[in-house]
């Protein structure tokens, strides 16, 4: 078990949290404050350096048998260094078979990307990874007529 207090301080310093459409500050805080947290059984895979923040491969895997007794309900990807700090929320069902996803994300700058998984029993797992972004997304000029 990790120190909940440390994580709460880290999470509460996330900027712009209050206008996330789907997972609001209160929901996220409540999730992290009231549920048991673990760093086990979740892995995040992200390159250590990205030359460009436009398309960074990300994969996350949460260990679970994915049955109706125990499955991963949702998985949130937080990108606190971006203008909007939630990149995506994945929703699974036991029929997913495996809670392992991959996608490509945009990163505005060097930051610490976090994955937060909500399990069917209410527990929460967190994993994170730092990434150094050389040229951030959304900062290049666009040549348009």
């Amino acid at each position: 078990m990790i120190q909940r207090r440390k994580l709460l301080i880290a999470v509460s310093s996330l900027p712009l949290l209050t206008w996330l459409p789907a997972l609001r500050a209160s929901e996220l805080t409540r999730l992290l404050e009231t549920q048991p947290l673990s760093e086990d059984g979740i892995t995040i895979s992200l390159p250590k350096i990205a030359e460009t923040g436009n398309s960074v491969p990300l994969s996350i895997s949460v260990e679970s048998p994915m049955t109706s007794e125990h499955w991963v309900r949702r998985l949130h990807v937080m990108v606190p260094g971006n203008p909007e700090d939630k990149a995506i929320t994945f929703t699974f069902s036991p029929a997913s078979g495996r809670a392992a996803v991959a996608t490509r994300i945009k990163l505005a700058r060097t930051q610490f990307v976090r994955a937060i998984a909500e399990m069917s029993d209410g527990s929460v797992r967190v994993a994170g990874a730092s990434i150094l972004v050389t040229a951030g997304a959304c900062v290049d000029e666009v040549w348009m007529n």
Binding site: A87, I88, T89, T91, G97, R98, R104, V142, M144
Partner: protein
Amino acid sequence: MDELKPRIRMPQHVAAGEVFQVRTILPHPMETGYRRTRMGEKIPRHIVVAFTVHYNDELVFAADIGPGISSNPYFEFHVRASRSGELVFRWEDDRGQVWNISQKLIVNP
């Protein structure tokens, strides 16, 4: 033309109970709304906001998508095979445009 259609990569034949991987990609600019032209004008947001996957009419996977996902959104995920049937993939963007594609699945008992 075919270039604006979503593409799916998944097996056609699987064994019952097998967990298989699905890969999907949709051509889409995923314009965040934070970029500006050289003249300083804001480029309006245009992003996919939702992705759902139904397996024989049951929701098996979904994504609630923000501007932090790269252009031509790409997803890899998994499905456990139960009965033969169909997977239906649906994307919706913030301008109400919807893309639907389905893929048949044959499950050997």
